[in-house]
């Protein structure tokens, strides 16, 4: 395998692995804190049990996310030293703040996990909330750094030199808000559906129904509310990308030619040689409207940038279709759930709604990975958009393919072990927390 491709794949695998754990690690604490809040308020044991079960999940995911994050902070240099040599001092601000947020998260988690019956109950609860908030902040800060690669700011690039560095401007680059918003909402959606789906499955199996119903309700409300917000943030992102990175938007849409009244292309197989998309559904004018607010607005196609600067069209286009398709499916399910909550209480007791949630378990995370594929592959061939090419940033060390095989093997084994642990945590609920049989006191 070519070293450059190996480096890209290793980075993609590492990020793709880390992002799942990072998301769960930053969202689950909120679920956990809500359950914990109900426990402190109502003293119903089932809430305490749900809290404890989820905190075990948080511990597993946080630890895995922390080590994979540590690895990433080294991989940036191991794989892309020339990028880091110039980018480090410019986009380092969010990383140095993220270090603090992450540290606080680790400290708060220490208080939380070991604080049962040792700390003042409300102080203990607050440390759980701090875990969530600092996790969320870490996520936002890291995304701000990524946004800088899409929307470089805070320096002047003159004759190959990076001058007049302003780390604060770099952090608040044009893309940070739309990316951070989209990602934060995505984290809630994907974690929410994953957690809700698992508990829905256990309810269907008839195991510890009281426990799993409680857990399902909390996770489902987060999942569905955020799923309905996501198209709004997606719209902000798309308009932003259209303005800043027309080539990326063109690749997402497989939109080859600059035109007015541009159609929205759904599905299809892009053919870069003939510059057409076969078997696609086209909705006239919709792309123009979505990106410019005017059905006759001009949308730049791939022909607006030199061929050498085209991102891979097929991968970006497919990934984008997958993300949007799954996103819409989740919105649909969310609307059904709201309808059930407000008007059709009977649906809540039926199995088909739960079955739909089981089907939706991986949807959020698949959409999330697809979305990151759009962002990262769509930025190619640039590592810093318009400034430095990815191929120029890669390490001079040969043999990266072996490193790629090694890390892939490690990540796959970790994924297998974590799945086993979760399976055990979930199937052992009855033994670990036998509250379902207890009658809540007064």
């Amino acid at each position: 395998m070519d070293d450059f491709l190996a480096a890209r794949l290793q980075m993609a695998f590492s990020l793709g692995f880390h992002i799942v754990f990072a998301c769960i690690g930053m969202v689950m604490p909120f679920f956990m804190s809500l359950a914990h809040f109900y426990w402190l308020k109502t003293k119903k044991k089932v809430y305490r049990d749900v809290t404890k079960a989820w905190s075990a999940g948080v511990a597993i995911f946080f630890a895995t996310g922390a080590v994979s994050g540590t690895v990433l902070s080294f991989e940036l240099g191991l794989l892309w030293p020339k990028f880091m040599e110039h980018a480090g001092p410019i986009f380092g601000m969010p990383f140095s703040l993220e270090g603090t947020a992450f540290f606080i998260e680790a400290i708060a988690l220490g208080f939380y996990l070991y604080g049962w019956n040792r700390l003042n109950p409300w102080f203990h609860w607050a440390t759980g909330v701090v875990v969530g908030i600092s996790g969320l902040l870490s996520g936002i800060l890291v995304v701000a750094a990524n946004a800088w690669m899409n929307s470089p700011a805070g320096f002047d690039y003159i004759d190959g030199q990076y001058l007049n560095i302003d780390p604060v401007k770099a952090m608040f680059n044009d893309a940070w808000f739309s990316q951070a918003l989209h990602m934060t909402v995505a984290a809630f959606v994907s974690t929410g559906f994953a957690v809700a789906g698992v508990h829905a499955l256990m309810i269907l199996k008839g195991k510890n129904v009281a426990f799993h119903s409680m857990a399902f309700r909390i996770a489902a409300i987060f999942a569905t509310v955020f799923a309905c917000l996501q198209p709004l943030s997606g719209d902000i992102s798309a308009k932003d990308v259209a303005k800043r990175q027309p080539a990326k938007l063109a690749a997402m849409e497989a939109h080859f030619h600059t035109e007015r009244n541009a159609p929205l292309i759904i599905g299809g197989i892009p053919d870069t040689a003939r510059k057409t998309v076969d078997y696609a559904i086209r909705i006239p004018g919709l792309l123009s409207f979505m990106t410019t607010g005017d059905f006759n607005g001009e949308v730049k196609g791939l022909d607006s940038v030199p061929k050498a600067d085209h991102p891979p069209v097929a991968v970006t286009h497919y990934a984008f279709q997958i993300m949007v398709g799954l996103g819409m499916a989740m919105v649909g399910l969310s609307l059904l759930y709201f309808l059930a909550l407000w008007k059709k209480k009977l649906w809540l007791r039926s199995t088909w709604l739960l079955k739909l949630f089981v089907v939706a378990t991986p949807m959020g995370f698949i959409a999330l990975e697809a979305g990151w594929t759009v962002t990262e592959v769509g930025r190619q061939p640039w590592i810093i958009h318009g400034v430095m090419r990815t191929a120029d940033a890669v390490t001079p060390m040969p043999g990266i393919a072996y490193s790629f095989y090694l890390f892939t093997a490690v990540y796959i084994s970790l994924a297998v072990i974590v799945s086993l642990l979760l399976y055990r945590q979930i199937t052992m609920v009855g033994k670990l927390y036998n509250s379902s049989s207890e009658v809540p006191k007064s």
Binding site: A59, I60, F62, A63, T64, A66, V67, S68, G69, T70, V71, S73, F74, G77, L78, P81, K82, M84, E85, H86, G88, P89, I90, G92, M93, F95, S96, E98, G99, T100, F102, F103, I104, A106, I107, A108, L109, G110, F111, L113, Y114, R118, L119, I165, D166, P167, T395, P396, M397, S403, V410, L414, I417, L420, L421, R424, T427, M428, K431, L432
Partner: protein
């Protein structure tokens, strides 16, 4: 501001060696403990280490971030030429961090524990070993950006007797820190005596490994003796460390766990001081003598300034929270043991 950043970098490295090192040591001791004491050692250890476990490893992230933001050339040179030992260290970090949590959070106690535990103890050994190799390679002057072939650019940059000896020395330091730490955590006299005996043995092992480092430096023609004893502050640091080591033998017998830990921490601090002082501000010695210095290879002024403020503000949040975390769980553990 640059000095603020350098102090943070040095402190983060020191704290990682002290706190992370004691953590690694816990795994190493588990490896060295006979089967009949294993379970007890483990329990004593993790009751205390559990709550601060994750936080201990954050210092490494802080140090790395300071390096790549403030001193990008140094970070990237290390990343390129010490790629292989860095990967070794990372594999250790992954294996160790996950195995520790997995074995505590596996809902079923079965043969999987036999998988987690060896992973945990062996990765506790290899991580500080590679850390030591990386640290030694930074100053052994074998990194050669002009090298043309794979071996001399990416392997002999770190593979030499001196680096290996420092790797072993680092492992022994971790075991030393953990043993001293655990003495204060023991609740029964028998346990305490067991670990005091162990501590004595480990102190000799550390001194032996230290001697190995000097020997290896001599073979590899690295002027270590000159670096350590060549200037007054380094010399004072080493003398202070030696005195405190002698003191330690007296304190070991008495029930003064805090004093014991302070002495151990002091010794390691002095060793790190002596090892870094003579090169300062150089941090990476290259083969062609074009050394990388914290002062001449720092980022632009604005970067260093914001980094400094970010660190200062960060420490306002981190330090009190961390101290309170350690305080409260130490207190609670002690209260529990009184009953």
């Amino acid at each position: 501001m640059i000095y603020v950043v350098i102090v943070f970098l040095w402190t983060a490295i020191l704290l990682y060696i002290l706190l992370g090192g004691a953590d690694f040591g816990a795994g190493i001791i588990e490896l060295l403990t006979s089967d009949k004491n294993k379970e007890r050692t483990r329990k004593t250890m993790y009751k205390a280490i559990g709550p601060i476990w994750e936080a201990n490893h954050m210092w490494l992230i802080i140090a790395v971030v300071i390096l790549f933001v403030g001193f990008p050339k140094i970070y990237t040179t290390v990343s390129i030429y010490l790629h292989i030992p860095l990967v070794g260290m990372l594999l250790g970090i992954i294996a160790r961090g996950t195995a520790f949590v997995f074995r505590n959070y596996d809902a079923v106690e079965d043969d999987m524990q036999k998988v987690y535990t060896p992973i945990f103890v062996y990765s506790s050994l290899i991580t500080p070993f590679f850390l030591g190799i990386i640290a030694a390679s930074a100053v052994s002057g074998r990194i050669d950006p002009q090298a043309n072939d794979f071996l001399s650019a990416y392997v002999f940059s770190w593979l030499n007797w001196f680096s290996v000896a420092v790797g072993i020395f680092t492992v022994s330091i971790c075991a030393f820190l953990a043993t001293i730490f655990i003495i204060g955590q023991t609740t029964e006299k028998e346990d305490r005596n067991h670990f005091i005996r162990k501590a004595r043995r480990i102190i000799f092992i550390v001194m032996f490994c230290g001697a190995l480092v000097f020997l290896a430096a001599y073979f590899e023609q690295i002027p270590l003796i000159h670096w350590i004893f060549g200037d007054i502050p380094g010399l004072i640091a080493i003398i202070a460390a030696s005195i405190s080591l002698v003191l330690m033998f007296f304190v070991l017998e008495r029930d003064k766990p805090i004093l014991l830990r302070l002495l151990a921490g002091f010794q390691v601090t002095m060793i790190l001081f002596a090892a870094t002082y003579s090169h300062f501000p150089d941090i990476l010695l290259l083969k062609d003598g074009a050394n990388l210095s914290l002062l001449t290879h720092q980022g632009q002024a604005k970067t260093i300034e914001t980094l400094g403020y970010a660190l200062l503000i960060g420490s306002i949040f981190i330090l009190p929270a961390l101290v309170y975390l350690i305080y409260i769980f130490q207190k609670k553990t002690n209260v529990e043991t009184d009953h």
